[in-house]
């Protein structure tokens, strides 16, 4: 079974190599994967699976479905390796994009299945959470699931994955302005829907 862990502290800057170095490393690794190198594929899976899994889990709110997405994404990567163009994108950007799209496809399929039974969820609807949440994590999970899909994607990538604004825009194939708007609306919606939860964490203010 997968294990849930608390979110680690966020770094202020993305660690590691420059973009160019990262692209070269990706290209070399993907070249090995395209040759059928099992160790290289295993290396890619080991290095990236937790990110893929966490994005999928936060997008879908379901552990097993997130695992299915992860398998689907890496299988696609395995198949794409022969066609990989190193100059176009980093593997991590490709993984985020395919993971997000795969989650959106699943969310839309779910919605089509339940459209006759349930009203469409909107950010306004999340103001009144009625679920029987056992703890804070359940409330947070439900509030995130209640956000419109594009707002959720933007928040997951910017806040939880700590991507830069331009990287989020690139992954979502949107403008930076559009992502900023999605983030602001998403955070405002969460602030409303989780008001009684975050108020408990307010620092003491002098009168």
């Amino acid at each position: 079974m997968p294990s849930h862990e608390a979110k680690p502290p966020r770094a202020h800057a993305r660690p590691g190599a420059s973009q160019n170095e990262a692209r070269q490393a990706d290209k070399a690794l993907m070249a090995r994967v395209s040759q059928g190198d099992a160790q290289a594929f295993q290396q890619l899976v080991d290095a990236s699976i937790d990110r893929v899994l966490s994005v999928a889990r936060r997008m879908l709110g379901d552990d097993m479905e997130a695992e299915d997405v992860a398998q689907d994404v890496f299988l696609r990567l395995w198949r794409q390796a022969e066609h990989w163009e190193g100059g176009r994108a980093q593997v991590s950007t490709w993984l985020y994009r395919v993971t997000v799209n795969s989650c959106i496809d699943r969310m839309r399929a779910r919605r089509e299945e339940t459209v006759d039974e349930l009203p469409e969820v909107s950010s306004e609807a999340t103001q009144h959470l009625t679920l029987e949440a056992e703890d804070l994590q359940d409330y947070m999970d439900a509030a995130l699931q209640g956000l419109p899909e594009r707002q959720r994607v933007a928040l997951v990538l910017f806040h939880y994955e700590n991507l830069s604004m331009s990287a989020v825009a690139d992954t979502m194939d949107a403008s930076v302005e559009a992502v900023e708007s999605l983030l602001a609306r998403g955070r405002r919606a969460l602030k409303k829907s989780l008001k009684s939860q975050w108020k408990a964490f307010l620092p003491e203010m002098p009168e």
């Binding site: 997130a66 395995w78 799209n101 409330y139 979502m172």
Partner: protein, 172 residues
């Protein structure tokens, strides 16, 4: 009067920045960071807004995060090793005589996989034995193989050329 207007404008901008970029000043636009932090140094209202944004993020950071199990990694490696799409692309070339680049590649791949697959299968088998979810996992694996077998190379290539898969209407 002018001072009040400026302060009001600054507070409105701070609220906008907090909603968009979050409570961590390191993520705020560099061009505005100093002015907004200075505002927080002098205005209670600014400190209150930042306190609220920090409190919200403490709640946000409780959202579950998954770590991959070894069983899942093994399942993925095994699925790739048995992938009929990659196999279909490579196998016919092995039948041809001679030592072309492709056939060498296939031979090399054939040498590389067994150890990894054996290890993956062993871990996967242990996982199935312990968890008892084998039926569902195998069903998923066959489903993926069947879908991709039907899609073939055209599907794979279209992913490469345009993998955004998003409609224009979804941008906002």
């Amino acid at each position: 009067m002018t001072q009040d207007k400026e302060t009001k404008k600054g507070l409105a901008r701070l609220e906008e920045v907090l909603n968009t970029f979050g409570a961590d000043p390191a993520r705020w636009p560099v061009s505005e960071r100093a002015a907004l932090e200075a505002l927080a140094g002098t205005q209670d209202q600014a400190r209150r807004l930042i306190g609220e944004a920090q409190a919200l993020e403490r709640v946000m950071d409780t959202a579950p995060e998954l770590k991959a199990s070894n069983a899942l990694k093994a399942r993925i490696v095994a699925a790739a090793a048995n992938d009929p799409v990659r196999e279909a692309r490579v196998v016919p070339i092995t039948a041809s005589p001679g030592r072309s680049g492709h056939s060498l590649r296939v031979r090399r791949a054939a040498l590389m996989w067994p150890a990894a697959v054996l290890a993956a299968s062993f871990a996967f088998g242990l996982y199935l034995g312990v968890s008892g979810v084998g039926g569902q996992v195998f069903e998923d694996a066959f489903q993926v193989a069947a879908i991709n077998g039907a899609g073939g190379d055209a599907e794979a290539i279209s992913w490469l050329e345009d993998d955004s898969g998003l409609d224009a209407e979804d941008l906002l």
